[in-house]
Symmetry: C2
Subunit: 201 residues, 2 copies
DNA sequence: TAGATTATGTCAGTCCATGACAGATGACAA
DNA sequence: TTGTCATCTGTCATGGACTGACATAATCTA
């Protein structure tokens, strides 16, 4: 990896970190692009060369996490049922985060706090999840061998499960990957309890 | 109702109609507030006295529809199980739209087309649904007598069902309340098939 | 090291959104 | 009817998000 590429990555991360800190400190709305750019010693114009919008920088960690999830999903064996594969991929993604760089973990948790505190950003995360859902739907349809209403339902149920699992966490749980993980397992267990056997086949 | 109040209502509807027509004609992004205001012969400043943002005017019909749904939900007998009450309330809301003014129907369908065509607006609708979900959760918790993870799951499942039912409609279905209604019933039937008995109790 | 690529800064401009103030219009009582 | 009050509307000024164009500076490659 060349110097240019390394520099770009470094600037990107610096922008994300500066933005998240400012958002947490003084709120998303009252933080300006100029402030973020100034904190990283970059021109405001350059900010928009790294992120399409102010919202994007707040959602960058979530976007990256989704990519990790999709990669995990791709690696699941074809023998697993659709929902099992999705749940396992999510467990894998959480594990990667838990065992990864502490800085990445911190960044992810900070971003989650910003998302929870800012309705605009929360809506943006929904948009991300919806976009992701299209790709998940393809995987579910592939495994079920049918692109029908039921595949959509399985996919939507998974999205809901993740959402409920991550939502309404207390502050402690927000700053703790293990807390999130536990709540996720509770929700998966509930799905198992309330769905008829083979519902995702 | 006085003259002043009637005038306000008229202006509001005129702004929505003008906005939706412009959005459909030339796209949401490339339509300016100035254009919308000019079409209704009102100053741009006045537009923002009726709607908090450009997004709000596109989501106005959806917001109104949600209010109708919540009103229907409030009228459901307390003997119904949570999910049954939610489904019945949705059927009631759709019926009200079907049997209502043709203009209201047209407006609603136009708004849906704009939502489908514009990612930003789609995200906004998600935000609306999430805000609504909080109130639905209260009703579910009340009927179940417990404010726990399961209530959240029932609520999230309902939201997903509605979303899947309305989503990915063909152009024909988009311009047809009955088509939407049929698809909704298919989705409700699927829930009934895939969930264990008494899952929402 | 020279030349091609690519990143960055500066500048000008558009559009969304909001506060402040003044003029216009409907509501209401005498 | 008329005068007063509350409310609606237009105008103006401002700030902040975003974008295109162009020049400069940094990296890359031969």
């Amino acid at each position: 990896m060349g110097l240019r590429e390394r520099k770009k990555l470094k600037t990107r991360v610096a922008l994300i970190d500066a933005a998240l800190d400012l958002f947490l400190e003084q709120g998303y709305e009252s933080t300006t692009i100029d402030q973020i750019a100034a904190a990283v010693d970059v021109s405001p114009r350059t900010f928009f060369r790294y992120f399409g919008s102010k919202e994007d920088v707040a959602l960058a960690p979530a976007t990256d996490a989704q990519d990790v999830f999709l990669s995990e999903l791709h690696d699941r064996p074809g023998t697993e049922s659709p929902f099992t594969a999705l749940a396992q991929a999510m467990r894998g993604a959480v594990a990667l985060l838990r065992d990864g760089e502490p800085e990445d973990k911190q960044r992810f948790l900070k971003a989650r706090q910003v998302v929870e505190a800012t309705p605009t950003i929360f809506a943006g995360q929904m948009r991300l999840m919806m976009a992701n859902e299209q790709r998940i739907l393809e995987e579910v349809s592939r495994r079920r061998g049918a692109d029908d209403l039921r595949s959509q339902f399985v996919t939507a149920t998974f999205t809901s499960t993740i959402r409920v699992g991550f939502e309404n966490c207390t502050v402690e749980e927000l700053s703790d990957i293990d807390g999130m993980s536990r709540r996720l397992e509770d929700t998966f267990a509930l799905v198992d309890e309330l769905m008829v056997a083979g519902w995702d086949h």
